[in-house]
């Protein structure tokens, strides 16, 4: 198996075989990332392609100081954020206690759902909710970091996350019924 360093060198020389190895090595995981940030599969494919174009174009900047996969993942996330930039609308902050609605017993539903169902639930969220939910829950960014990335306050980020989870609860309720 070709090492990351040789693969990157090949890609920098525009060697198509190295580029294909690079793509095949990361395409699956990155497509998984894109599916979570996109509204549908077609958008996810566009983001994946655009993300790889940006990755190949910026590969000379990768200094092997961290994991290559992590570097590619960051590029994919930023590509996805740019893709939906126009649609990223963040509502005013809300008091979380106030916004807390009735909760339903949906643990059973959660346990029954397949991965594809969860993907569909995420994709059904508005771009703003979906982005904050992904960044905080899946990628592990703090609200302060998310605020800096999206140009919003950390309280707005918290509020968006709360709304996102409430929207997910509603979806789960529907499934339970």
């Amino acid at each position: 198996m070709i090492s990351d360093e040789d693969m990157v060198k090949g890609c920098l020389h525009r060697d198509i075989r190295s580029q294909e190895v690079f793509y095949r090595r990361f395409a699956g995981k990155m497509y998984g990332v894109c599916l979570r940030y996109a509204s549908n599969k077609m958008d996810a494919e566009d983001i994946l392609q655009e993300g790889f174009i940006r990755a190949f174009g910026n590969l000379h900047r990768f200094r092997f100081e961290g994991s290559l996969e992590g570097w590619v993942r960051k590029i994919m996330i930023h590509t996805a954020l740019n893709y939906y930039k126009k649609h990223l609308k963040f509502l005013q902050e809300v008091e979380i206690k106030e916004a807390m609605g009735n909760t339903t017993l949906y643990e059973e539903a959660l346990s029954k759902l397949m991965t594809n169902d969860l993907i569909m639930i995420i994709q059904s969220l508005s771009p703003g909710y979906r982005t904050v939910f992904n960044l905080h829950v899946i990628e592990g960014y703090t609200h302060v970091e998310i605020g800096l990335m999206l140009g919003i306050s950390d309280n707005t980020s918290k509020s968006q996350l709360f709304r996102a989870k409430r929207a997910i609860q509603k979806e789960l309720d529907k499934i339970m019924k």
Binding site: A27, G32, T103
Partner: protein, 191 residues
């Protein structure tokens, strides 16, 4: 808040290391973007791309182009018909004139006196009285020869039109068509 934590945990566990197989079209499109098929965009883009081709091909193209241009110019030169010569000797009496100047005039008029007398070429007459006008096109011409200034010839002979004439209206017309001509010009002695 417990339910919310359950949601977070469920999604976090599900998508940690989650992979999905993208359609093969994504790689096809990406490959096409990274290595677009070369397509013909016209002559000038071909010229602009020449240096990007191999140096051998580039040198070969330049060499071939030069040969083609030279061949083309040669064909044009041969086709132009300007390849006749007028040559001869200038005589001062019985002797050949020693140095002077020969003038070639083109005549476009049909009747004398000529209005369109136009000096188109000048050449030296050497010490043997020899002169030559090369690569002359078809047409009608007059020749005038004058001896070198302050020479023995100038003291004894006048500048004269072909042949031994003072006035161009009476000079002999020289018709150049498709062959070389030898025209000997005799100068008019001073009175």
């Amino acid at each position: 808040m417990e339910e919310n934590d359950n949601i977070e945990n469920r999604f976090r566990e599900t998508f940690a290391g989650y992979e999905a197989e993208p359609p093969e079209e994504v790689w096809s499109n990406l490959k096409q973007h990274l290595h677009p098929e070369p397509r013909y965009q016209g002559f000038w883009s071909w010229v602009a791309d020449l240096p990007k081709a191999s140096p051998v091909f580039f040198r070969f193209s330049i060499g071939l182009t030069t040969v083609v241009v030279i061949l083309f110019l040669a064909v044009v030169w041969f086709a132009s018909g300007n390849r006749n010569n007028i040559r001869g000797h200038a005589y001062a009496g019985e002797q050949r004139l020693c140095r002077g100047t020969a003038y070639l005039f083109r005549v476009d008029d049909k009747a004398r006196p000529y209005d369109s007398l136009k000096n188109i070429r000048t050449c030296d007459v050497d010490e043997n009285g020899y002169y030559q006008f090369s690569r002359i096109g078809s047409g009608k011409y007059l020749i005038r020869i004058s001896p070198q200034q302050n020479s023995e010839g100038q003291k004894r002979f006048l500048a004269s039109w072909y042949d031994q004439l003072m006035n161009p209206d009476f000079a002999h017309l020289i018709q150049v068509d498709a062959e070389d001509l030898t025209i000997d010009v005799h100068l008019l002695p001073r009175p």
